[in-house]
């Protein structure tokens, strides 16, 4: 079996559809901690890209460096063809950032803080546009409310409104749904999809794998400062996703017959289920042979079902393999 890196090399080439091109990016903090190691990554225009990784993997450092909040140690980042250092004005104008922390001005009203953000990014006042954003995010009724009086979920919406205030072409969402309820999470997913339909490229980091599974076109996995995988989500799930066939037995089995013993086949603790793990992409899944053997041994089953690995399981196995 080939090493994982050989099978799934991170994308490094930048093409005409690349809106962000990161090459050879490293970051070592003053403490000596190396947060990013030779990161190469291309984000395609108008895609939803999910960056996954455990705590401290370097997700926020990567985003912060692209956005200009953290100075890179080495490497280069281009945003729509603009170098983030030499041509920072053009690069930053295109980016909106929703940070992980709920950092807001507690004493400002919703309207004022969004207006401030628009101005900060060099845009002339446009009350009609701000009104549209606030209505889209269900914040219109709260426009005169001080931010400190808002709930956590509402504050998260304000952060998004601020990031969208200058009409960015690229939106970074760093853990956008951390600490928000299910309903709001669904609303945000819907909003992200609408933004993409309107031509915005979305890069999100998340701990909720279901979020990436639900929305992302492509998935990147970062671990210990290195991008260890970039892949189309469906291709990734097809490539690495294991399928499992579960057979619900008519009568419990004490033990598997010797010729059925196989690493791919497991008997449940109570003996009522047989779980067979197989590669769905393989020509020879082994299912036919398994069923034939069961019939030969007189093992009957009353029901069966198949399940596929979730992105979370894939993620855990990838990061675990690197540990």
């Amino acid at each position: 079996m080939k090493p994982l890196d050989d099978r799934l090399a991170p994308h490094s080439a930048s093409g005409p559809d690349a809106v962000i091109a990161v090459s050879g990016l490293s970051k070592t903090y003053a403490s000596g901690f190396q947060a990013l190691r030779d990161v190469n990554l291309t984000i395609r225009r108008q895609e939803i890209f999910a960056l996954l990784g455990p705590n401290g993997a370097g997700k926020t450092t990567l985003i912060s460096t692209i956005c200009g909040i953290v100075n890179p140690t080495t490497g280069q980042v281009n945003v729509d063809g603009h170098d983030i250092i030499r041509d920072y004005r053009a690069a930053r104008t295109k980016i909106g950032l929703v940070p992980q922390e709920l950092s807001t001005d507690a004493f400002e009203s919703v309207w004022d803080t969004v207006k401030f953000s628009r101005g900060l990014f060099g845009k002339a006042p446009n009350p009609a546009y701000i009104e549209k954003i606030l209505k889209d995010l269900s914040l219109w009724d709260k426009r005169d409310t001080k931010i400190r009086a808002l709930s956590g979920g509402m504050k998260r919406r304000v952060m998004i409104a601020k990031a969208l205030s200058h009409e960015p072409e690229i939106l970074f969402l760093d853990e956008p749904t951390a600490g928000v309820d299910v309903e709001l999470r669904r609303d945000m997913w819907e909003m992200v999809r609408r933004l993409r339909e309107n031509g915005v490229t979305i890069i999100l980091t998340t701990h909720y794998i279901e979020e990436a599974e639900e929305m992302a076109d492509r998935v990147g996995v970062i671990s210990k400062g290195e991008i260890i995988l970039v892949e189309d989500k469906t291709a990734l799930m097809r490539k690495l996703g294991k399928k499992q066939l579960t057979l619900h037995l008519q009568a419990p089995l004490q033990v598997l017959p010797p010729d059925l013993r196989n690493p791919q086949l497991e008997l449940s603790a109570d003996g009522t289920e047989l779980v067979y793990t197989f590669d769905a992409q393989s020509d020879q899944t082994g299912i036919t042979e398994l069923l034939r053997h069961l019939t030969e041994h007189g093992i009957d089953f009353k029901d069966l079902n198949t399940t596929q690995s979730s992105l979370e399981e894939i993620f855990v196995s990838l990061v675990g393999a690197r540990a």
């Binding site: 100075n71 920072y88 004005r89 104008t93 950032l97 950092s103 400002e108 101005g119 060099g122």
Partner: protein
């Protein structure tokens, strides 16, 4: 130049002043009024004139200078420190805005507040003592220059500070003593010769002296020297701020 960004920061900072009007304006005006009552009316009535100016009037420029020095530092340091403290600095750092534009926004607002306050105290002083301003344009020039320079100094403190204690440390431990010892309440000619020389190392002497000249045409040091020293201090502050942004000192990791 990102004019919209400068305006956004400036308006945001000025709004903070109007939100805290009592703290920003009323408090300094009340404390300055107390100075005039104690030093101007109560004690000043028993003091001899200094260079032909009544003691009550003599301390007016010094008291205005004392107030604008402390408020310039306080406003500018608080203005940049708070976004660092709350985390909202991310937005300024990720915006298409240069270091110069950031400084113009924050320092411009802090200086504006100080100038407004200086003029309010000037008017307040007129209720307690009688005086006239001999060189009004020069007085305004010194007021603006001092407010901008010490707002730059406050901006440096705001970036440097990594806690509220440090934010208060420099104004309380250095600036206030220097202001009190910088001729706000006396002419340095009243000091023994040795201390007259020592006090020339205090930059506030030049500010108070120049400002007082614009009121009464009297000064402890030459006006040109006062002006030059203020510009030197301003240039020093600008160089330090430029270095802070260039290295990302306590702003960017």
């Amino acid at each position: 130049m990102n004019i919209h960004a400068i305006k956004a920061i400036y308006v945001f900072e000025m709004a903070r002043m109007f939100r805290t009007l009592l703290q920003s304006i009323a408090s300094p005006v009340i404390s300055t009024s107390l100075y005039f009552i104690v030093f101007g009316s109560a004690i000043g009535g028993h003091m001899a004139e200094i260079d032909g100016v009544s003691y009550g009037a003599f301390i007016v420029p010094g008291l205005i200078m004392l107030t604008i020095l402390t408020t310039s530092i306080s406003n500018a340091s608080f203005g940049i420190y708070m976004p660092k403290f709350t985390g909202t600095i991310y937005e300024v750092l990720s915006a298409p805005i240069s270091a110069l534009e950031i400084v113009i926004g924050y320092v411009g607002a802090a200086a504006t507040k100080s100038i407004i306050l200086g003029l309010v105290i000037l008017v307040t002083a007129r209720f307690f003592v009688s005086f006239s301003v001999t060189h009004p344009l020069t007085m305004l020039g010194f007021l603006v220059l001092t407010s901008v320079t010490f707002s730059l100094f406050g901006f440096i403190i705001g970036i440097w500070a990594d806690g509220f204690e440090k934010l208060q440390l420099v104004p309380m431990m250095i600036v206030t003593p220097l202001t009190f010892l910088g001729g706000s309440f006396y002419s340095i000619n009243m000091l023994p010769p040795f201390w007259q020389k020592v006090t020339l190392f205090n930059p506030v002497v030049y500010l108070v002296s120049g400002f007082r000249w614009s009121f009464f045409d009297i000064s402890d040091v030459a006006v040109d020297l006062s002006l030059s020293m203020t510009f030197v201090f301003m240039a020093l502050c600008l160089v330090i701020i430029w270095m802070m942004f260039r290295t990302g000192y306590r702003l960017k990791a």
